[in-house]
Symmetry: C2
Subunit: 335 residues, 2 copies
DNA sequence: CTGTTAGCGCGTTCAT
DNA sequence: ATGAACGCGCTAACAG
């Protein structure tokens, strides 16, 4: 591994001169510059960022802590974040927590040790302490997707309440009254807000809200299947189903079908979050889609701003409006 | 930012003693250990990996250089790699090259400067030089998905030739004879091999191979659309289409439909690579699926082995067999 | 069981 | 326009 010193020797100059050439800082005569560049090339010199970072306290690296990159929503967020980070000269380390607190804590402390310059953080829970811990190290955090109270950070997310309401309104317009919700865990803000939006839309339309039609699980395919099982134990079925995210919807559809129930003929289904590649092939699920790419992009930009202008102390709560996309998973119901 | 020195002062010991406590190395009396741990906790001490790495020449970080994490195949590979890396104590930095050489080169040199411990590398081209450059720095590389000749590295990939042949055999069994291929660029090994598999299966079945039915583009949705345009300029259409990857298939289906052609009624379609979430909702495309998760997992494991046992010099070429999954995108053709 | 010395590779500060 | 010295935070190597 050749160092700045080796290059210096080869070029017959002092290490600091090599440094100046490499970083384009300070004055270097074009003659010595050329000698240095030649030496660097011959020796395959690659600057050591570790050493540089040790002095500069900057790693040009962001952390992206999310739940599961396998979910197309997060995939797209990740892509947006990486594109934006890369445009600003940052790399990104990604970590899947699977909404698991222990995993998350482990990742966070590893990332802290690695001295990442900032965190793009999708919290697995409502607790503010992870963020507090990070802030104690003086590292900025942008929280994605989920609002947490009592912490001074930026948020980039979409309006879950509004999105849920849009979906429910759509169902109501089609004549549905008995609507069940397959929700995520109540300790995640988006789950609570999507339920809230559901309730609001129902009551606003003068519809009775039936607590027994609220199911709580996880934001996973398996959980979607489980909730169908629970649903089928009821005497009467709702005419429509609201899945609080795409994976729950997938699990629900599978379980419904394997129980001989067709969507939308036997039961209508809407869900939060798009499934891009799927709908490109077969436009099927009616959803509200979040601008996933922009969420990632915007979050990374915000984070980079905080890093480069470390004075910046005004925190933003950027809320995107989800968009209703009507496809073929709902049927009109005769009242 | 509190350092090992601060902790040492607080605990009334030497820095090295703190180091020993933190790393569980060497002898420390449980009395002083406790004092040190208390001091560390009070001061919110977080070890600085940069400093440690500078000495140890290990960053516990892998690079994952792929084409586009937005493609569900790569998403799954990435997840497998991250899970495996994390289990071995490594983080992973991911980079999207979009098959773009310039972007790729930029990423590679950045990652070299960052002193990642190893590369998981999906080459955007056939050239061995990027790998040679990395090896010059003494850093191991595992190449994913695409074989490159003339370099000593591990490969983890699947058998493109065999996969293509399986798909074509399936079509032949259904009576198809005029089959077009929508391929990726010829400078990518998988594209060449998928075409080769196509040819082999055809000739083996005694079918004539029609060069005019070979279309070359990119592994993208847009390219899939473009190739349909080209196809439609022909006087007579083939009865079946072989898309060399999932994104090409998606683009093809869209363009076919917008031109009033239905799959499979008007034309049958098979493709390489699954689209997991899509087929969970609507089992549609007949594909050969690669074990994406295992590819990522296995590659990361191999890489970690090279890193931890730096003596290891036997290189493997691990080839997985793709699996044919018959769904509903093909129709039998009467001869 | 604990401490001293030294150096990993680089860039800031201050000279020349 | 170029260089010397020092220190970023940490841990081998070697005392004691």
């Amino acid at each position: 591994m050749t160092t700045i010193k080796d290059v210096a020797n080869r070029a017959g100059v002092a290490p600091i001169t090599v440094s100046r050439v490499v970083n384009n800082s300070g004055y270097v005569s074009s003659a010595t510059r050329q000698r240095v560049e030649a030496a660097a090339a011959e020796l395959n010199y690659v600057p050591n960022m570790l050493a540089r970072s040790l002095r500069s306290n900057r790693t040009d690296t962001l952390a992206l802590v999310l739940t599961d990159i396998t979910n197309p929503f997060w995939t797209t967020v990740a892509r947006g974040a990486e594109d934006s980070a890369s445009a600003h000269g940052f790399s990104v380390i990604f970590c899947n927590t699977d909404e698991h607190e222990a995993k998350q804590d482990q990742y966070l402390s590893m990332l802290l040790r690695k001295r990442v310059d900032g965190f793009l953080y999708v919290p697995a829970n409502d607790r503010p302490d992870p963020i507090v811990q990070i802030h104690k190290q003086g590292i900025p955090v942008v929280v994605l997707d989920r609002k947490i109270h009592g912490v001074d950070v930026d948020f980039v997310r979409s309006d879950s309440k509004d999105g849920a309401a849009k979906l429910i309104s759509h169902l109501l317009e089609l004549g549905h009254k008995k609507i069940a919700i397959f929700n995520g865990p109540p300790n995640i803000a988006t789950a609570r807000e999507r339920l809230a939006g559901f309730k609001i839309a129902m009551t606003k339309a003068g519809q009775e809200f039936d607590e027994s039609l609220v199911f709580s699980g996880e934001f996973t395919v398996e959980s979607g299947r489980q909730m169908v099982k629970q649903l089928l134990q009821r005497e009467s079925l709702p005419t429509a189903l609201f899945a609080a995210n795409n994976f729950i919807a997938i699990g629900a559809i599978q379980a419904l079908r394997s129980n001989g129930l067709r969507v939308p003929e036997d039961i209508s289904l809407v869900c939060f979050d798009d499934i891009p590649t799927s709908h490109m092939i077969e436009p099927f699920l009616t959803v509200v889609a979040q601008p996933a790419y922009q969420i990632g992009q915007r979050a990374a930009e915000l984070l980079v701003t905080h890093i480069t202008q470390s004075g910046k102390q005004d925190f933003q709560d950027i809320v995107f409006a989800p968009e209703l996309i009507v496809r073929n998973s709902c049927q009109r119901v005769s009242s």
